[in-house]
Amino acid sequence: MIKKSRIQKDLAQGKGGVTRESQPESSGKLSQFFGKLKRLFHSMSERTIVSLIYLCGVSAIIFVFGIFFFVFREGEPFLKDHLDFKSFFMSPDWYPTSVSNKRYGILALLAGTGSVTILAMLVAVPFSLASAVFIAKFCGKKLQETLKVMIELLAAIPSVVWGFIGLMVLNPLIVKLTGASIGLNILNAGIVVGLMSVPIIVSIAEDAMRAVPDTYLEAAEALGATRWQTIRKVIFPAAKNGLLAAVLLGVGRAVGETMAVLMCTGHSVNIPFDSKAPFFHILDSVRTLTATIASELGEAPRLGALPDGTYPEEALHYQALFMIGIVLFAITFVINLVADITVKGIRKK
């Protein structure tokens, strides 16, 4: 915020700035009356506008809380009455519409989200950090501009188009190159989500590297270090908080991605880790938390409570999906919080 001195505050307070001295000489009671009216109007409209501005400023908090509130509200009955932590989080059996045996275990879904995110980060992080270094340090001004524009355009591609690319282009490619039985799997989704996360990681990593104080760089140069040595021994350690934040935000993006994974993972309730080599089966199809909500929300009916306060069994599916929404919201909230704190950490230095 921009501070004002006390004198200026006094001058501007309650007057709307249209002071008597600045008005042209007016004669007669009527024009004086209108003058007063105009000043009143100005000060009132200014006050309304300022209160509107304050309201909008707070709106961001209202909306974040609103999101949490409404999602929680719809999922709360599940949380209260039916949540058995062990069976919800630890069981891989997700059968919410079973006729005989309804089960709500999200372990396989968590594994799905986790595996796609891991692969996406393995793809994205090395390349993003390398690009950030290249753009920040090894480029001429013109090349820098071009590359930054290209990365920004990469960020603009909507997720449904990425899903389309994974479905139509990567699918047959993967089958041809790896002989997998199906081209919609962790590998496909991992590459797509990785490419989607690149712009975020690059831009924040670049900012972090730029934020390293010039004095550090000058000192290194005075000691005879080359650019590469400076990068390795000075910039990376100094910017490591920012780089960590960049990666965390990339992870947040990957976890929250919906449409691309819906179209590219093969959508199968399956845990891709087991004791058979190669232990992490990236050619397996999985299902993520986000895709589960997207594919099942339309069908789950929102049923009201029965007179005795409990809910009919069919209502549980809808509430369980909102429960998954709460889990997702919690995960991304924590990731964003940690990233934010890490970034604040470097600014304070």
Partner: protein, 306 residues
């Protein structure tokens, strides 16, 4: 420091030493590797986008844009989806732009540096990071059910508006903070109130940045699918060919992003060029708008009068 011939090395006191030459070589290697890695991401991107546009070429005609889907959506065009997306974007902009700009003004001009405002900044960052499907859940819970709008363009565009709010807030904040403080101090010295200063000096000088934010909002709003899937987008709805105002806010509409999803996954027998054509139109419009935003930003930077 350029490398010199070894023969002259002994005579030239400024010649690089063995260690220096090794360091320079390492640096060159590093630069090349990093450059290659950067290329490795960007080249497939260019190839993929090029592939989409090339495969889409047979379908990209004026008819494709203005005609409605026919024959089970296997022929004809994408007009209903296109105009639907326009509706959604315009309505969401009507809500997101004023709220976002004013929130940005608050954050940069009025907020004191206390814990409350730090929480607000945190909230903005978090709003940006919420997964799109959670926004969809919120839209269903708040607008479709609680506010009683039902599945409609209204509910869908409000959901999109909240999703894209952080983009405008951040862009406004940056644009405002770029206006130098002396401008404001000069106004205060003349007796202007804070709002007058903003209205007459600060805002006009940051319009470029704000416009960039708005254009970026349009890009995001046009591309989103998950939030509108459950709040107002529909598989098919008949619309007159070339009709500019076919929907009313309480109806559902077709949307380009959702249309791409359904014809890729649910409609059999769609000719490949139509699939690619729809993707190309969506991608093309978004990339075009984004480029406009970038150009506006560059122009603003060059024209700064301070």
């Amino acid at each position: 420091m350029t490398g010199t011939n070894k023969k002259q090395a002994t005579a030239n006191p400024f010649a690089p030493s063995e260690l220096t030459r090794k360091k320079m070589k390492n640096q060159k290697i590093a630069a090349v590797i990093f450059g290659l890695m950067t290329l490795l991401i960007l080249i497939p991107l260019v190839l993929l986008i090029g592939d989409i546009f090339i495969k889409a070429l047979p379908s990209l005609t004026w008819d494709f844009l203005t005609d409605v889907p026919r024959n089970g959506m296997r022929a004809g065009g994408i007009w209903s989806a296109l105009i639907g997306t326009v509706y959604l974007v315009v309505f969401s902009l009507l809500v997101a732009a004023p709220v976002g700009v004013m929130a940005g003004i608050y954050l940069n001009e009025y907020a004191k540096d206390n814990w409350f405002n730090r929480i607000i900044s945190l909230a903005v960052v978090n709003l940006a990071g919420v997964p799109s499907i959670v926004h969809a859940l919120f839209g269903v819970g708040a607008f479709v059910i609680f506010a009683g709008f039902g599945k409609s363009i209204l509910a869908a565009s409000l959901t999109i508006a909240i999703m894209t709010l952080p983009v405008i807030i951040v862009a406004t904040k940056e644009a405002l903070s770029a206006v130098p403080i002396p401008f404001r101090v000069a106004c205060w010295n003349l007796g202007a109130s804070r709002w007058q200063t903003i209205r007459t000096i600060v805002l006009p000088n940051s319009l470029g940045g704000i416009l960039t934010g708005i254009i970026l909002e349009v890009c995001r709003a046009a591309g989103e699918t998950a939030p509108i899937m459950f709040t107002g987008a529909v598989f098919f709805k008949f619309v007159e060919r070339g009709d500019l105002l076919p929907y009313s806010p309480t109806e559902q509409c077709m949307a380009l992003s959702y249309h791409l999803h359904t014809i890729s996954t649910q409609v059999p027998g769609v000719p490949e060029s139509m699939l690619y054509g729809t993707a190309a139109v969506l991608l093309g419009f978004i990339l075009m708008f984004n480029s406009v935003a970038i150009i506006v930003r560059m122009r603003v930077r060059n024209r700064k009068r301070w």
